[in-house]
């Protein structure tokens, strides 16, 4: 039996701007299995980030439900939602969203402070994680002193701080050059395979395709189609053969 981590049920999100209502998501139904690497694809403005925010409890749907681990997110208290964000999910953003007042190390330890870990535990874990993403020698640099790729590595290390079961990555490579982007994708894929973390990544970057188990195509706030890995490989083959 499939182990469903994320399930959305008729999720609608409307943004109100004055008298205009914009339907960014128009009834999204998806199920994501534990350990999957899912890419949300679609043109700019199709609603990828909006869906990402719904799944990560960063915003509330206007209608519909989001279930994570079978838990209906709309029924959680404020404290439970904070704990959910702290322990279950690791967020990676296009613009890194590091706290610029804290060093790489300080950024990675912050979620662990919120989780109530002791200073000793935090330091050990932060060093381990920063080593893993290849920043062992840049630990006490401020984000402003790091390159884009290095900042995204810090963000990845921070996302892993409390051993989340889900990684949500919203266009993690969009601000990076091709090679650095590849390195970041490889790093995320490694976590997916080695640690069984479920990865949900929004992208319009084709190089994300060959690491994905499934691709969800989104257009105008609805799921246009869902493609499996084998279908993807055929299509890549076709493109490559031209």
């Amino acid at each position: 039996m499939a182990d469903i981590v994320v399930k959305t049920e008729d999720v609608v999100k409307e943004y109100r701007m004055g008298s205009n209502i914009l339907r960014a998501l128009d009834g999204i139904n998806i199920e994501i299995e534990r350990g999957e690497y899912i890419s949300l694809m679609g043109p700019s403005g199709s609603g990828k980030s909006t869906l990402f925010n719904m799944i990560g409890a960063l915003d509330r749907p206007t209608e519909g439900q989001v279930y994570i681990d079978g838990q209906n997110m709309s029924q959680l208290s404020q404290r439970q939602i904070a704990a959910f964000r702290c322990h279950r999910v690791g967020y990676i953003f296009q613009s890194y969203n590091l706290l610029h007042v804290r060093s790489a190390h300080g950024n990675v330890t912050l979620p662990m402070i919120f989780a109530g870990m002791t200073e000793k535990q935090r330091n050990e874990k932060a060093e381990k994680l920063l080593d893993m993403v290849g920043l062992g020698d840049r630990m006490y640099h401020l984000p402003d002193e790091l390159s884009g790729g290095q900042r995204q590595r810090v963000a990845i290390a921070r996302a892993l701080a409390n051993d989340p079961s889900i990684i949500l990555a919203d266009e993690p490579t969009a601000n990076l050059d091709t090679i650095t982007g590849h390195e970041i994708i490889d790093l995320i894929k490694r976590l997916n395979i080695e640690q069984g973390v479920t990865v949900i990544s929004a992208t319009h970057d084709l190089k994300m395709l060959d690491v994905s188990d499934r691709i969800v195509d989104i257009r105008d706030g609805v799921v246009e189609r869902v493609r499996n890995r084998d279908q993807i490989e055929i299509e890549i083959g076709e493109v490559g053969g031209e």
Binding site: D59, R60, D69, R85, N97, L99, V101, L110
Partner: protein
């Protein structure tokens, strides 16, 4: 294997941890912190100088001394003149608006940081506490410096007007002269200035911080400054 127990409740941070985070933030953003604090310092310095100047004027009239230079009508009257009340109210308004503005600016440019902290598991209460601590500290230190600068300014002005007599009749402590009016004395004015500066800074910062903390993180992180 990764099946988890039902969701736990997020814990509150120990106070020292909040204190540490807020001081670190003040330290690294030192340049910006100084600018915000300077806003408070200026507002309070203006208010305290006007107010202390007024106290000095009253005390010296009380003692029968006349200003050696300044013979405006108002200064020869006993009690607080309309012009002085007007000045104090004006300086109070300038002070309130100035401080509220500089705190609001300082919080608004940190909406993204607030949203990010919430992504990492911060409770709304923690966010508010962080801003309360930071602004309380900034408010107190800024207001204290401002009050001292303001007093110094008023003393220099008084020296010009009254000469060394100023120090014989300096209204340091509260007094209750015969005409029934109450004099606060400079120490109380300084104290009030400090308290006012701190309260204004704390309200001016934690109210917008509270509003930002209430926003869903996605909204808070959208704001670009």
């Amino acid at each position: 294997m990764q099946q988890r127990t039902p969701l736990e409740e997020q814990i509150d941070l120990p106070f020292v941890e909040s204190l540490r985070i807020s001081f670190q933030s003040l330290k690294i953003r030192f340049g910006r912190s100084i600018i915000t604090t300077a806003g408070i310092t200026l507002g309070i310095a203006f208010l305290v100088s006007v107010w202390t100047n007024n106290e000095i004027g009253l005390a010296l009239q009380e003692s029968g001394r006349q200003s050696t230079i300044n013979t405006f009508e108002e200064t020869t009257q006993t009690g607080i003149s309309t012009k002085d009340i007007w000045l104090i109210i004006m300086s109070l308004i300038v002070c309130v608006v100035g401080i509220a503005n500089s705190m609001l600016m300082a919080v608004t440019e940190r909406f993204r940081e607030i949203g990010t902290m919430k992504c990492l598991g911060a409770l709304d209460g923690f966010v508010v506490r962080l801003f309360l601590l930071e602004s309380g500290f900034q408010g107190f230190s800024g207001a204290l410096i401002g009050a001292l600068i303001g007093t110094l300014g008023a003393v220099l002005l008084g020296l010009k007007d009254y000469g060394l007599d100023l120090f014989f009749y300096f209204p340091l402590l509260p007094a209750q002269p015969e005409d029934g009016t109450a004099r606060l004395g400079v120490i109380v004015v300084i104290l009030l200035g400090c308290i006012l500066g701190m309260i204004l800074a704390v309200i001016g910062s934690s109210f917008p911080a509270w509003r930002a903390a209430k926003l869903p993180p996605a909204e808070a992180m959208r704001t670009e400054v």
